[in-house]
Symmetry: C2
Subunit: 506 residues, 2 copies
């Protein structure tokens, strides 16, 4: 089939994570191979091969000797303009037989998990196949053994960090609780006490801010691997974006499909969290599980079950995990959005009078447990002891000093900026604040522009149980464009139940 | 949001069943709505609304005031060049919560099945969501009650035929057994005996021929609904393509995803078959279930289980079903491919000496059972009685006469054409024919060009148990182009195990 080649051209089409190939129906390759629209095809240059989905185009787009590639396909293939590639039907993705097997009730073995993860990493799975895999793992369908197998496979598929010390501390929060930006504070406290905490974090995907977004309003976060190691070597910690190093590479791919289906899988969640921590080289991880009616984990019982799953899976991979079930009923701190959360974080670290108490308290509780976990030999003191230690580290200014040192090592420190436009939303009646819909509140901040506009978001003025008067400010929206402010306002008008106020019973 | 409109243009892109919208990243709608590549968007004209997937294109393709639509999107929307449409994020597809529920272990009710089927029919489900639904129904995951609910929902979502007589006969074959083209023969026998059998059939999707393809080599099959009714009124039967009338419209959509995943679902299969028969207005259906190691149904036990499922589901919808478990070990007749199968069918109907015996026998067995099913009151004779009746109808020429009359009523009769190129494949050693891989044999015929080239396919020269000499012809490939013949030859060289010959044990 030596004739089945076409000249490659970058057609200027963005299809996000998808590799798409465009061809004319009348081109010789399309006819010889019997391709149809949406056929999965294999594209081979002399250097690399990828799978892609075919879209048929009319003569206006290409010559009959050309194949157009979407941006993703172009990058995955490492293509060159005018280079040639051969095309054939994509071979059956062998590991899909294991996904089918799982759907037919067969358990996934280590070998199967490795094969599936390997194929997903290579981009061999179409979205439809990914969806079948995600569905096969939905809810509780993965046993503990299968979760462990999947976790191990995910670890082995990507980069892996190794650090010299015996103890490498880490933390994670399950599910987005708006404003719950404890990581910079906790990391600073831990590092100031001489422990290693090389923290990499993610950017927001659907929420108004991720730790990486918040940190980026104050310091560079996109560090090369070498730079990150230097920072950690100097400071004992870093607060960087994990995206530049490929830990657990299929995680983002699987999460994208889970989000498209709004489908949860406890096994996938556990594998995602634990694989990233193992790959990051952590030895001791504290996992915060907020619980509440609009949090990711809805009940205490569900949180216990998840805790157990995390603990057992971690143990199988020689990772020490502790979980802390916390209150997920309302946003934490005042700010939601990168800059606004950064302002809260700095207020805490700088021991300002107006620093949000709940953010302080949560940070100290997490730091205390991490300090306790760090004691490998010798007597372990009470939790109260480590709490006081964490408090002292914060109040003495040592945590803030360490934070600033980390920022400088990463490339400098800047004060987070405030947004150009703002608008306060007021209570329409008097009463007691009785319920926050965290999802709607997060959505408000997103619509206002966070995190794309880092200064955007909102600032909460009330907490559960507060007594409010009609006309009192509930929250203030911040945006960089009037249009975005309007968008958020319009959403709030359609969903005033985001914050519920019960009239006082007199 | 009155400004969020763009001018529509048909961009000349074929994405099969998918509705795709193309937009520039810098167009005002994209920015205002916060669209990204692969976002699901809602497209609204003043007449219609559809969901589509967004692809971001560079400036070369569109003006910043335009939105380009793929062919499918264009047709679904009933768009006009230069017309305007508004764009917004596609709303969450409500019925997907039922799919998630099913994945989480909750049973599908009638209401849920209706909602899901309704949304799929409207094109609201993305492929990823369809895949989740198919996975949720995979294997045995649908209970009998759920299968009935799904079947009912599928019936109600499309057109439905009604015929006057009390008895409307129909048949179906589960899974493709190459060459098993009994329908034209059976229908002719039944109609010649005065019963109604308004047969609509499908075209091949992955196999070398469907009944509609085979019939089309002899007579028009794309009949309008009115023409079909006229034919049936005149002749008591038709042999038409079912695709022009929308019976059970989500069937093709679901089947496309099942094929992409190579995933079987017994519940979906039953719902697919039964819903089509109920929608077609049939009252009595005979279902042929070929069983064999390379057939769709692999064991007798599996066939019994499927039989029961079909029977019970049909009963719940007031449809009378009988099943016949047949031998699926080898192709039926000699020809595989539209024209070649038509030649076999005509040989049987014309009582030619060389007509394939297995095709005759299967047709008579099926016709006998249908004739017996048709007796509603009064004594039912033995199966042997109806077998002889069927045989007599065939041998007297009455069946052939009816067949020709049906063809003339549909628009005329033509002899099927032979292909331009042929090549015989010979046994490389002596022995006994011991195994046919039906899938590979069907694939050979497809590669030779069937059904796109209706004259293409292959002709079998041997059957299981035949003694063959080295150099004896096993099968002959037929193609309309040398290239296609070569393609099939090359496949056979790579898969000679398509036909296995055991050396004689002397």
């Amino acid at each position: 089939m030596g004739d089945n080649f076409l000249y490659l051209t970058k057609i200027g089409i963005d299809t996000y994570q998808h590799a798409i190939v465009f061809m004319r129906r009348d081109c010789h390759v399309c006819r010889a191979e019997g391709f149809n629209a949406m056929t999965r095809v294999r594209v081979c240059t002399d250097k690399k091969s990828i799978n892609a989905t075919l879209i048929i185009v009319s003569e206006d787009f290409l010559s009959h000797q050309q194949a157009g590639l979407s941006d993703t396909a172009w990058d995955m293939l490492g293509a060159e303009e005018g280079g040639i590639a051969q095309f054939s039907h994509a071979p059956a993705v062998d590991s899909m037989s294991y996904v089918r097997g799982k759907l037919y009730g067969e358990a996934l073995t280590n070998e199967m998990a490795n094969a599936i993860v390997g194929d997903i990493k290579e981009g061999n799975y179409s979205d439809v196949q990914l969806a079948a895999f995600v569905a096969a793992c939905a809810d509780d369908k993965l046993s503990l053994a299968e979760t462990i197998a999947l976790t191990q496979a995910m670890v082995e598929s990507g980069e892996r960090f190794h650090w010299s010390p015996e103890i490498v501390l880490d933390k994670h929060c399950v599910g987005g609780l708006p404003g719950n930006r404890t990581t910079p504070i906790v990391t600073s406290i831990i590092a100031a006490n001489g422990y290693l905490m090389p923290k990499t974090s993610s950017r927001a995907i659907t929420s108004p801010a991720g730790t990486a977004d918040t940190m980026e309003t104050m310091t560079p976060v996109t560090l090369s691997f070498q730079h990150m190691r230097d920072v950690v070597e100097q400071q004992g910690a870093c607060l960087a974006w994990g995206g530049s190093v490929s830990l657990s590479p299929i995680d983002d791919i699987v999460i994208r499909i889970e989000r498209a289906l709004d489908l949860d899988s406890e096994g996938q969640l556990v594998a995602s969290v634990i694989s990233k921590k193992v790959a990051a080289g952590s030895t001791h991880v504290l996992i915060d599980i907020p619980v509440g009616p609009s949090a990711k984990v809805r009940t205490h019982a569900a949180a216990e079950k998840l805790s157990h799953h995390l603990f057992e899976t971690a143990a199988a991979l020689n990772l020490t995990v502790e979980t802390l079930i916390t209150d997920g009923n309302q946003p934490v701190g005042e700010g939601i959005g990168p800059s606004l959360e950064a302002i809260d974080v700095l207020a805490v670290l700088r021991n300002k009078k107006n620093a949000p108490n709940d953010l302080i308290e949560r940070s100290l509780q997490l730091a205390a447990r991490l300090l306790r976990m760090a004691i490998l030999d010798g007597p372990v003191e009470s939790l109260e002891f480590y709490y006081q230690l964490a408090k002292q580290t914060l109040e003495s200014g040592a945590a803030y000093e360490k934070f600033i040192d980390i920022c400088h090592a990463q490339g400098g420190f800047t004060e987070p900026e405030l947004a150009l436009y703002k608008q306060t939303l007021f209570a329409t009646e008097s009463g007691i604040v009785s319920f926050f819909n965290n999802r709607f509140i997060a959505k408000l901040a997103s619509l206002a522009g966070a995190p794309n506009a880092p200064q955007a978001g909102l600032k909460m003025h009330v907490r559960l149980g507060d007594k409010v008067e009609k006309g009192q400010g509930l929250l203030t929206l911040y945006a960089q464009a009037q249009g975005e402010l309007d968008y958020a306002l319009e959403f709030y008008q359609r969903h005033p139940e985001a914050i519920q106020i019960n009239k006082e019973i007199l």
